[in-house]
């Protein structure tokens, strides 16, 4: 059965970063919509001007608002795209039949990632991201950073431990600074809306971007998940292993979506 997959990229990336998966899913007979969040990929906004999830998520919200009632999609969220997805699931729970979190960041309702000190520490202590991160201060040095970035030579270690030099070259051309001020914004989500959407979590056990200990904390505290799948790979394992990943997400869709309009229990 053909599904409609909507893909939410992680920080610094864009719709482009899903190109291999889009190709495979379309060939397997599914509809796929990868979205550029604001200031990402080919979206024209300057990430340094984005401070709220309302601004950052706008392209995805606009898309969901225009999706006709009765149509449902499978949401696939990677990395920081997890935070965007919390809001999308809360706002559009009737339009999402399954969420697949992929090494994705999730925080508690009403608790911004920045204020979630335990998770923040697990994510940013003693790891490549902490070591190499560079901040831009377009609002003045006395104000908080407006975006964060990683110098090109550090990209392989920070993001692409599984990827080949060709893929890394492509990423080095297309990555853009991430509007880090959104991380200070809480997202409100509820059992009544967000909680109605079944979700699964795919963990990457050799992840150098979102450390496994942070993923462990997330799956333990921010579920429930219908299933937790552990894959022996780095943060972008779905690039070199795109065929396995395609099979996994389509199998998950088949397993947890029981016909149109129904939610699995």
């Amino acid at each position: 059965m053909g599904h409609h997959f909507v893909l939410i990229h992680g920080g610094m990336h864009g719709a482009w970063s899903w190109f291999k998966l889009v190709d495979r899913l379309q060939k397997a007979g599914h509809k796929v919509t990868p979205i550029d969040l604001a200031g990402a990929g080919q979206h024209p906004a300057d990430p340094n001007t984005i401070t709220t999830f309302e601004e950052y998520n706008k392209p995805a919200n606009n898309w969901f608002a225009s999706l006709p009632e009765g149509e449902k999609v499978v949401l696939v969220a990677h990395s920081m795209g997890g935070l965007t997805t919390l809001q999308l699931m809360e706002s559009f729970s009737s339009k999402i039949c399954l969420t697949i979190f992929v090494a994705a960041v999730i925080t508690a309702s009403d608790l911004s990632l920045f204020d979630n000190s335990l998770l923040w520490k697990l994510m940013y202590t003693d790891c490549a991201v902490a070591r190499y991160q560079v901040s831009h201060f377009t609002d003045g040095a006395q104000n908080p950073p407006t975006s964060i970035y990683f110098p090109t030579p550090s990209l392989k270690e920070v993001f692409y431990s599984d990827c080949d030099s060709e893929d890394i070259a492509l990423c080095s051309i297309l990555v853009r600074p991430f509007p880090c001020r959104v991380l200070k914004r809480p997202i409100t989500y509820s059992k009544e809306k967000y909680g109605q959407v079944p979700s699964v979590y795919i963990r990457y056990s050799k992840d150098t971007t979102l450390p496994p200990r942070a993923q462990e904390h997330i799956v333990k505290n921010y579920g429930p998940f219908k299933e937790i799948i552990e894959i022996d790979g780095g943060h972008f394992n779905h690039w070199p292993k795109v065929d396995d990943f395609t099979k996994l997400v389509t199998d998950l869709a088949e397993k947890y979506i029981k016909g149109e309009g129904s939610l699995s229990t």
């Binding site: 864009g14 482009w16 190109f19 190709d23 080919q42 030099s165 060709e166 051309i173």
Partner: protein
């Protein structure tokens, strides 16, 4: 280990720096430096094609690369498709900074010839498959244009792998129409820089007969050919890489057999 060379790669219409990802990876693995700018309104540029004010505005990111070069630094300049037109402009403006200019399935026009004189002929087969924006209002000349999806897929990405077709189709953008892209070639400027033309013999976008016409009317020093479709940097990246290294070896003085052929 060969001496590091600096390659400057110029993408074509609707494309962006992204199209050079394989060439960039190969050249950097071989120890060379690569600059591949997004021209204004291309790739991840924040500017809309309809807001590109002039050819100079379009080329600014390329001019910035040349402005940032060291006093004695010279580059190997490579242009694909319409990218041959910016290549000709910077060859005229920065001739002392260029070892050799390489046109890959490129528009290698004559002196003072704008692209607008040439493109309807060259793209005659699919001029009906193009769409336009009229940013200055109806009744004015178009401000940007693009090729419709099916034709773009077939002509831009013929011979490409499915994932590269997908990547390309996701990242193509409208191209600005600029009336001032003609360059006057001088002996001291444009003509002082050796040129090499690399043909794509299976090209469905810029057909081989038009590539031959460019070569005939404005003879380069050397012509090479690769049996592949229009986007040689995507569908024949390794072969293109070998050609680029050979061209560099032939045109960089005192380089000789130092260059690494990997």
């Amino acid at each position: 280990m060969g001496r590091t060379q600096h390659f400057v790669l110029v993408h074509g219409a609707q494309h962006g720096a992204w199209c050079w990802y394989k060439t960039k990876a190969l050249l950097e693995s071989a120890g060379h430096r690569v600059s591949a700018p997004d021209l204004t309104s291309a790739g991840i540029s924040a500017v809309n094609a309809d807001d590109v004010k002039s050819f100079d505005h379009y080329n600014q990111p390329l001019y910035d690369v040349f402005e940032s070069l060291g006093e004695t630094e010279k580059v190997i300049l490579v242009g694909h498709s319409y990218g041959g037109v910016p290549v000709a402009r910077v060859t005229e403006l920065y001739s002392r900074k260029i070892h050799v200019a390489v046109y890959i399935a490129g528009c290698m026009l004559c002196t003072e010839q704008p692209m607008s004189e040439v493109w309807p002929q060259v793209f005659d087969e699919f001029v009906n498959d193009m769409r336009f924006n009229f940013g200055r209002g109806a009744g004015t000349s178009p401000t940007s244009g693009w090729i419709v999806e099916e034709t773009a897929r077939r002509t831009y990405f013929g011979s490409c792998s499915p994932k590269d077709v997908q990547l390309g189709m996701m990242l193509l953008r409208p191209s600005p129409f600029m009336s001032d892209d003609a360059t006057t070639f001088t002996e001291k400027g444009y003509h002082s820089v050796p040129r090499v033309y690399i043909k794509a013999s299976l090209d469905l976008c810029l057909k081989p007969k038009f590539q031959d016409l460019f070569i005939q009317r404005n003879r380069p020093q050397e012509v090479r050919s690769i049996e592949a479709g229009h986007a040689l940097q995507l569908c024949a990246a390794k072969e293109l890489h070998r050609h680029l290294l050979q061209i560099a070896a032939a045109h960089v003085p005192d380089h000789g057999d130092e260059i690494q052929f990997s």
